[in-house]
């Protein structure tokens, strides 16, 4: 009898489990098939297909899509899924295209992990945004991403703003040279400024020092800060950090690392060693980190940096409280976030004269200050294969690329988020409540555009310095000028998919971060062994395979050429 009962239980378990596993399996399979079928089918009926679906750009029946938005978790920010801007977008999309838009938030600082989890679970938004192309590629290889190439061609007439704004350059940036697949379109970097170094101008003034223009001078200034900590910080002298570098050393010491690269490096070399965008495997990086390691051991850097992880605000808080002398970060980092910006906090907490200004202290071997820019690309926008509304989603991208949309999202309503200043420029003012922009110029909503881009170029140029509420425009202008000095813009190397890169991006990035952290905080005597053992582990875990495949791919596509036109 017992056996019978057991058998019955097992049998029912089997039935239930079969049903349960058949259901989720069927869904992606169906949409995977649909993905392949849709372009072909609509290709046959090209002449009438758009007309049958859209009338004056509108669907006959309301369609519904979900769109990813970054959640930055700002203190006192607005709800990223529901605020003045999301409501405006929803209303406009409904009016223009009869498409209902829902937002789905993804934490900004762990976006790659989170979008991975969502994709793996099949619950990713219809319009996904990420900074990690390898993630897109990996899912594309598994059939989890829609190929945009046929849709972009077929609906070209329906998407004038998207084509105007991104153009072939950005739409086809990631196009596979062999298969012609386009798994993601690249948002456009309207302002290519990248990383700058900032220093406390008031500290320089107090000590009667000039802004440093070389590494040596920079080092002397840091030593001066440290030696005069009592003058500068009084009772808090022991909290001083002359130069702060924290989580993600490759970014946070980016300007220093770049100054050790050969400014005349060939495109080929830069590409082959360039899988890691923090330049771990470029020639010269080791010496840059050696210098950081020396500074660390001289007590010029933040001793505890490595135990705080990404997204931790401890370092920002130290800057805001006025303990940090200099740091390197995004070109506008101390100006961001209105009332909560680092410079605004310094003014409140330390004094009206306190604040960071940009400097350009790291000279390369030619005496210039080459800044290696990535190219006019920013985030990657893609549609997972669970997206049943590719056209509605493309219309969303078209709407979000419209010049008027970008301008409205960036500067908001007059009197609420901006006011007009002299000769046509606008100035951003601190907004309150649901009108707060969680990200500078609402970059999280303008997913095809990063950087100020108003309806006329003149207005943009004049307004740039005014886009940071509460920050002296002259300080912003100076930073912008330095960020645009001696730039080297990245070229688009289209060698197609590098197989060795699939699936290893996160593992290699986390190894890279470990190497950087360990090497910076090692003792001077151990530096070489720590760096070399870390690098050999990195290379044997897939780093070398990527370089070899990249070298072969380059030769296959570009032959003997060392530079791209």
């Amino acid at each position: 009898m017992k056996k019978k009962v057991l058998a019955a239980v097992l049998a029912s378990a089997m039935v239930v489990s079969l049903a349960a596993c058949a259901a989720p399996a069927a869904a992606p399979a169906a949409s995977g098939g649909g993905e392949a079928a849709a372009p072909a089918a609509s290709g046959e009926a090209e002449a009438e297909a758009p007309a049958s679906e859209l009338t004056d750009g509108k669907f006959a029946e309301t369609r519904s899509i979900t769109v990813e938005v970054y959640d930055r978790g700002n203190d006192g920010g607005s709800d990223p899924e529901n605020n003045d801007y999301t409501r405006w977008i929803q209303q406009q999309m409904l009016e223009k295209h009869n498409v209902e838009v829902k937002f789905q938030k993804v934490p900004r600082w762990t976006e790659v992990d989170d979008i991975n989890n969502l994709l793996a679970a099949g619950t990713a938004p219809d319009v996904c945004v990420t900074y990690s192309y390898p993630t897109v590629q990996t899912y594309a290889d598994m059939g989890g991403v829609i190929d945009l190439a046929p849709y972009l061609e077929q609906y070209k007439d329906e998407l004038p703003n998207l084509w105007n704004w991104l153009g072939e350059t950005n739409l086809y940036w990631d196009k596979d040279p062999e298969t012609g697949n386009v798994w993601a379109v690249e948002a456009k970097l309207a302002n290519m400024n990248r990383i700058l170094t900032f220093i406390r101008q008031d500290w320089l003034d107090t000590l009667g020092l000039e802004a440093p223009t070389t590494k040596e001078e920079f080092h002397d200034v840091l030593v001066a800060f440290k030696d005069n900590a009592d003058t500068l910080l009084g009772a808090d002298a022991d909290k001083m950090v002359p130069y702060s570098v924290s989580y993600d050393v490759g970014w946070r010491a980016g300007t220093l690392i770049e100054s050790f690269l050969d400014p005349e490096m060939t495109d080929k070399e830069y590409y082959i060693n360039g899988f890691d965008d923090r330049k771990l495997t470029q020639n010269g990086t080791k010496e840059a980190v050696r210098l950081l390691n020396q500074w660390y051991n001289e007590g010029l850097m933040w001793n505890d940096f490595a135990i705080y992880s990404s997204g931790d605000t401890t370092e920002d808080d130290m800057m805001k409280a006025g303990y940090v002398g200099a740091f390197s970060h995004n070109w506008d980092y101390p100006f961001r976030n209105g009332e909560d910006s680092i410079n605004a906090n310094l003014k409140r907490l330390v004094g009206p004269e306190a604040g960071y200004v940009a400097i350009d202290p790291f000279e390369d071997k030619n005496g210039t200050h080459t800044k290696w820019l990535a190219g006019p690309v920013d985030r990657k926008v893609f549609f997972p294969s669970t997206n049943d509304e590719p056209l509605a989603s493309l219309l969303y991208l078209d709407f979000i690329s419209e010049p008027e949309t970008i301008e409205y999202l960036q500067i908001g309503e007059a009197g609420v988020t901006h006011e007009d200043v002299e000769d046509g420029a606008v100035s951003i003012i601190a907004a309150t409540g649901d009108a707060i922009q969680n990200s500078g110029m609402n970059i999280d909503y303008t997913i095809t555009c990063n950087g100020l881009h108003l309806t006329t170029d003149e207005k943009t140029a004049k307004s740039l310095a005014y886009t940071y509420a509460g920050i002296d425009p002259a300080v912003v202008q100076a930073a912008d000028a330095i960020a645009k000095t001696d730039t080297r813009i990245g070229v688009n190397v289209q060698t197609g998919n590098i197989e060795a890169e699939a699936g290893v991006g996160d593992v290699l990035s986390s190894k890279r971060d470990q190497i950087y952290d360990l090497a910076v905080s090692a003792s001077v005597a151990d530096f070489d062994s720590v760096w070399d053992s870390g690098m050999s582990d990195y290379l044997s875990s897939g780093g070398q395979a990527i370089m070899d495949e990249r070298a072969a791919a380059w030769e296959k596509v570009y032959g003997d050429a060392e530079m791209l036109p």
């Binding site: 009898m1 017992k2 009962v5 378990a13 239930v16 489990s17 349960a20 596993c21 058949a22 399996a25 069927a26 992606p28 399979a29 949409s31 995977g32 790659v112 992990d113 991975n116 989890n117 994709l119 793996a120 099949g122 990996t138 899912y139 598994m142 059939g143 989890g144 909290k239 001793n303 505890d304 490595a306 135990i307 705080y308 992880s309 294969s385 699936g503 290893v504 991006g505 996160d506 593992v507 986390s510 971060d513 470990q514 950087y516 952290d517 360990l518 905080s521 582990d537 044997s540 875990s541």
Partner: protein, 317 residues
């Protein structure tokens, strides 16, 4: 099985399963939900174990995926030839063994001490305070650890350096980190784990203690000869379960406590699976690792159970 042998009238039982259900349907109803839980969350997911032997694809059902190379063993071979996996395996074993050696006796000792306390209000207060940390998430515990143990801004190190000592790298040196990890684990769980022992102690017949007192036994003799033997079955069962978990380890504790400087000792199997499998999208590889982990766990569990029965103790079954 034993009960069926001793049941005097099997003939009556044979036709009575239906009538049992009728008679005790409330009990079976109560049993139904936990059974459903086990089925849905523990048994159905096992179907996907076969991913370990197949080439994973996001758009195919698990039955349609093609078999991996080397007769499906590709990912096991790949794991065991990956130095990161070997390192994670070593770390898991070392950290869990240390946890067992340090963390297992402490709740027992604590329960024994607590049992000797006469002043009940104090006893209750101590008990409550010590099991509180069990309810804290590891992220919060790491936050507390940062405030206490950070090399230059942590409270403990500030006291040490102000007294003229050298800061101790509790969190940023591998050797120290291991002990911080163990210490925080013990701190978080010993109060909670002692509850089981206290309950077992409460079940010991108090006449035994009275008789021992009459015979002139002291406190430690009573502890050694009455209390400890009295809770021995409980200790054995918990030890078996702890040994079965030797390759397991929660995810949040190591994940929250690790940082870039100590990864060579802080990466354990659960975080390795997260990094390679979920973030690196190598689902087959990490299912293979997970399966290996479970099988070793079962072997250890069975082994420990067998040994304990051999040594004359009651096992888990």
């Amino acid at each position: 099985m034993k009960t069926s042998k001793t049941t005097p009238a099997p003939a009556v039982r044979k036709q009575s399963f239906g009538s049992y259900i009728k008679r005790y349907w409330q009990l079976y109803l109560l049993l139904f939900l936990p059974m459903l839980y086990l089925l849905v969350f523990k048994y159905i997911p096992m179907i996907y174990v076969q991913i370990a032997f197949k080439k994973y694809s996001i758009v195919q059902s698990v039955w349609e995926m093609p078999l991996a190379k080397n007769h499906g063993m590709q990912y096991f071979i790949q794991a065991f030839s990956n130095p990161d996996f070997i390192r994670a395996l070593r770390n898991t074993i070392v950290l869990n063994l240390l946890d067992l050696v340090v963390g297992f006796p402490i709740p027992i000792i604590f329960a024994l001490i607590l049992n000797e306390l006469v002043f009940t209000k104090f006893k209750k207060a101590v008990q409550t305070i010590t099991y509180m940390p069990h309810f804290l998430s590891w992220v919060i515990i790491y936050g507390i650890a940062l405030q206490l143990f950070a090399p230059s801004t942590g409270l403990v190190n500030m006291v040490i350096t102000k007294l003229g000592g050298e800061a101790v790298p509790f969190l940023n040196d591998t050797g120290h980190w291991v002990w911080t990890y163990i210490f925080l684990g013990v701190w978080q769980s010993f109060g909670w784990n002692s509850i089981v022992y206290l309950a077992a102690i409460a079940g010991i017949n108090s006449e035994l203690y009275e008789a021992a007192s009459v015979d002139g036994a002291g406190r430690f003799q009573k502890m050694w000869h009455i209390t400890l033997p009295g809770i021995k079955p409980t200790i054995v069962i918990l030890l078996i379960m702890a040994i079965g978990n030797i390759l397991g380890s929660g995810f949040d504790r190591p994940f929250a406590l690790q940082n870039n400087l100590v990864m060579s000792w802080a990466e354990v199997l659960s975080t390795y699976i997260y990094r390679y499998g979920i973030k690196g999208l190598q689902f087959s590889l990490t299912t293979a690792v997970g399966l290996f982990q479970s099988i070793v766990g079962v072997i250890f569990l069975l082994g420990a159970n067998y040994l304990s029965r051999k040594l004359g103790e009651r096992g888990l079954w």
